[in-house]
Symmetry: C2
């Protein structure tokens, strides 16, 4: 079924304590080559008909993102794009 | 700087109440052509040197995803891929 992916990330100037917590935990795992970690949301919207980017943008703006502190992008998922197996 | 994107989504068989809440709110916005909404996480990892997919996969497995209920994919971000402006 046609899917639209909305990626929501904190604006670059907004502190991301969740991502920082992960970044701070990395040296304990022996990882020292990571400069930063930022954590946002990925939303998959399945349409009954044709994927509608404008509609998805409206949904993201009203329900999914906080425009004061977050940016979002909207795109149609590629046919082979799926997060249902480790790759 | 080279970036790796980790997408974490609930496995398809796991109920997503957060996504369902959004889907249920859509008719009130006049949106009736959405079949389902699933909400996951998008994590951006910036490496100091070359982006290291195996390292990112290890981080995702240990810190970012719960393999019991979530699947994840790891990929190098495309050069023009950024969530810092509405598109």
């Amino acid at each position: 079924m046609p899917r639209v992916v909305v990626d929501v990330m904190l604006k670059p100037e907004i502190l991301d304590p969740q991502g920082q917590a992960v970044a701070n935990a990395l040296p304990r795992l022996g990882v020292s080559d990571v400069a930063s970690v930022r954590i946002g949301r990925r939303i998959e919207i399945e349409f009954t008909g044709e994927p509608d980017l404008d509609r998805a943008r409206e949904i993201a703006d009203k329900l999914l993102a906080n425009p004061v502190i977050e940016d979002f992008t909207v795109r149609v998922a590629e046919a082979d794009e799926t997060v249902d197996a480790r790759s």
